[in-house]
């Protein structure tokens, strides 16, 4: 289990020779006898062997290319084949990252190419302005997206985000949410078909993030296998909020809920472990809308709540079409009212929380024990009744609401978040001093 990821983490931590003993089976399915046999005859010899072998010191990392060094020269197809062989592409055609193209991206950013934005785990590689630009070129971004790309990388390399856990078995995928005037300036789609590929800003920036995680953080599917997502999701396109619609409601944009001022350009990145069904709600009464959202989107979160309950982190996101948000707001409900309703009313029988947890990985998951240990609040074990209904969400203020999608339809969708892995991290987008004139120049002259 986790062998590729384990080796990558050990190497990244400067201890590539760390002994890793491999359990050759499926612990959550194996019988007690199989587990015993595996431990005694397979694990133990590897553990003893590992303790007996130590190298004298850290191995010096192999020499790797410098930022402006040309690593390959060839036609479009040859570059693609080479990048595929090196595991530097994501299965889709990439734009060749030539010096000219990368420099064009760098001109859309006030920072030095050598500036280190963060350290990306599990491989412990530096995220720099330079390699953000390189991967931005490859993903098909336009150069003027560069300030957004930098903010996205600042968010994922923040230690709060736990980027090193992006290869965990649930196979979660980061989701970028963008707010501010830049939504219009860079032509993001926030209306019909939002979250579908098709608009360059939403799509290429979403692709960029997965490509960057692959190349700089080192999260790759086989043949490298640092990514242990059992059944992964594909990359998410960027979710842009329809702030005109939000303004009409008298609600605050999502970025304000994250602690920023209205009108600031902000990206938020959070994990998404699954997307719910389209949830249709109608009528003038807010209660009818939120009841159905609680039943459908709440239910989708309920299954996965054993993680959030135990880790005390859970940040579900609801994308609400403008008409649904308007009906709720017109009936006098604020976003906080919606959150409180969901927090109070989305519940699951305690025995199901424990059953789902034990079948996932937490084989000794017991709400009573977790309460005794002070890990979860007392409300989770007020009696021994296995059918007692326990709360799914951890804090009402952690339920995100973004207004986007078809204004002519009454739909919402939920994005289930993966507890302490990929908690929402927001960063202000820092624009170069000549942003408006730069934008005009760029829009007048398409990229070479």
């Amino acid at each position: 289990m986790f062998m590729g990821l384990g080796r990558a983490v050990a190497k990244g931590l400067g201890a590539a020779d760390t002994a890793i003993a491999e359990y050759r089976g499926v612990p959550l399915i194996d019988t007690k006898e199989q587990l015993r046999d595996n431990v005694i005859n397979i694990l133990l010899p590897q553990i003893l062997d590992g303790w007996g072998k130590r190298t004298a010191a850290s191995q010096a990392p192999a020499t790797e290319p410098k930022p402006r060094e040309i690593v390959y020269s060839g036609t479009l197809q040859q570059v693609q084949d080479y990048f595929d062989q090196q595991l530097w592409a994501d299965g889709l055609p990439v734009i060749p990252p030539t010096l000219d193209r990368v420099d064009e991206f760098l001109r859309c950013c006030d920072r030095s190419p050598d500036d280190v934005v963060g350290i990306c785990q599990p491989e412990y590689r530096e995220a720099t302005i330079w390699n953000i630009a390189v991967n931005g070129v490859m993903a098909g971004c336009r150069p003027e997206y560069m300030p957004v790309l930098v903010a996205v990388v600042e968010a994922i390399s923040d230690p709060l985000f736990f980027l090193e856990d992006a290869g965990s078995t649930p196979g979660w995928e980061p989701l970028i949410i963008i707010n501010g005037p830049i939504v219009k300036e860079l032509d993001f789609n926030s209306g019909s078909g939002v979250m579908r590929v098709g608009r360059r800003a939403n799509t290429s920036i979403g692709r960029f993030l997965r490509l960057f995680m692959r190349n700089v953080a080192g999260q790759r599917i086989p043949p490298d296998v640092t990514d242990k997502g059992s059944i992964g999701l594909t990359f998410n396109v960027v979710l842009a909020e329809n702030e005109d619609a939000v303004d009409e409601l008298g609600w605050a944009p999502f970025s304000v809920d994250q602690g920023f001022s209205r009108g600031e350009n902000v990206v938020t990145v959070q994990s998404c472990v699954n997307i719910t069904q389209p949830t249709y709600t109608g009528g003038e009464e807010a209660l009818n809308h939120v009841q159905i959202i609680a039943e459908v989107i709440g239910h989708a979160n309920a299954y996965w709540s054993f993680c959030g309950i135990r880790h005390r982190k859970m940040y579900p996101l609801i994308v609400m079409s403008p008409s649904v948000a308007k009906a709720i707001a017109d009936d006098g409900w604020s976003k906080d009212d919606v959150r409180k309703y969901l927090y109070d009313n989305v519940r699951l029988p305690a025995h199901l929380v424990e059953k789902y947890a034990r079948n996932c990985a937490y084989n000794d998951y017991d709400l009573g024990k977790l309460v005794t240990q002070g890990i979860v609040p007392a409300e989770y074990h007020e009696s021994d009744d296995p059918d007692r209904m326990v709360r799914v969400f951890v804090k009402p203020e952690w339920i995100g609401i973004v207004v986007a999608g078809d204004p002519g339809r009454n739909q919402s969708k939920g994005y289930v978040q993966n507890h302490r892995q990929g908690v929402p991290v927001s960063k202000k987008i820092r624009l170069p001093s000549d942003w408006i004139s730069l934008l005009k120049r760029r829009q007048a002259a398409p990229a070479k």
């Binding site: 289990m1 986790f2 384990g6 990244g12 931590l13 400067g14 359990y23 612990p27 007690k32 587990l35 431990v39 005694i40 694990l43 133990l44 553990i47 303790w51 007996g52 072998k53 130590r54 004298a56 010191a57 850290s58 990392p61 790797e64 290319p65 930022p67 402006r68 690593v71 390959y72 020269s73 060839g74 036609t75 479009l76 197809q77 040859q78 570059v79 990048f83 530097w88 990252p97 030539t98 010096l99 990368v102 990306c120 412990y124 590689r125 530096e126 995220a127 720099t128 390699n131 991967n135 490509l211 190349n215 700089v216 135990r310 880790h311 990985a361 937490y362 084989n363 000794d364 302490r420």
Partner: protein, 110 residues
């Protein structure tokens, strides 16, 4: 068409590397442990994948083979996965010193 064949007039691209510099911190190595008699083994568990059952079997076998071994089990060492994980991981070196660890097992899956 052979994918590696150049089409007439096709451009050539000189391309750069999309990764970043490795910045692994230097790590001091613990000495090898060849005989576990008289040695202290500390165990960490991340609360998943039946590690409690694995450790029970493992400890029984280790004590059988090395009667002089001292095992500080995962219950004493504390869980490594969950809330405040960064703080927990940062506290591990002190915890290992406190228990006089000669060898460590951390499982399962991480």
């Amino acid at each position: 068409m052979n994918e590696r064949t150049r089409t007439k007039g096709e451009s050539n691209f000189d391309v750069v590397w999309p990764l970043g510099r490795l910045v692994s911190p230097p790590v001091e190595r613990a000495p090898a442990v060849l005989d576990l008699n008289g040695k202290t083994v500390c165990e960490f568990w991340d609360s998943v994948f039946r590690g409690d059952e694995m450790y029970a079997v493992l400890n029984e076998e280790l004590r059988k083979r090395y009667p002089g071994i001292k095992i500080v089990d995962h219950v004493t060492m504390g869980a490594t996965h969950g809330t405040n994980e960064r703080e927990v991981v940062a506290s591990i070196p002190d915890l290992l010193r406190k228990h006089g660890a000669d060898a460590v097992i951390s499982g399962v899956g991480a």
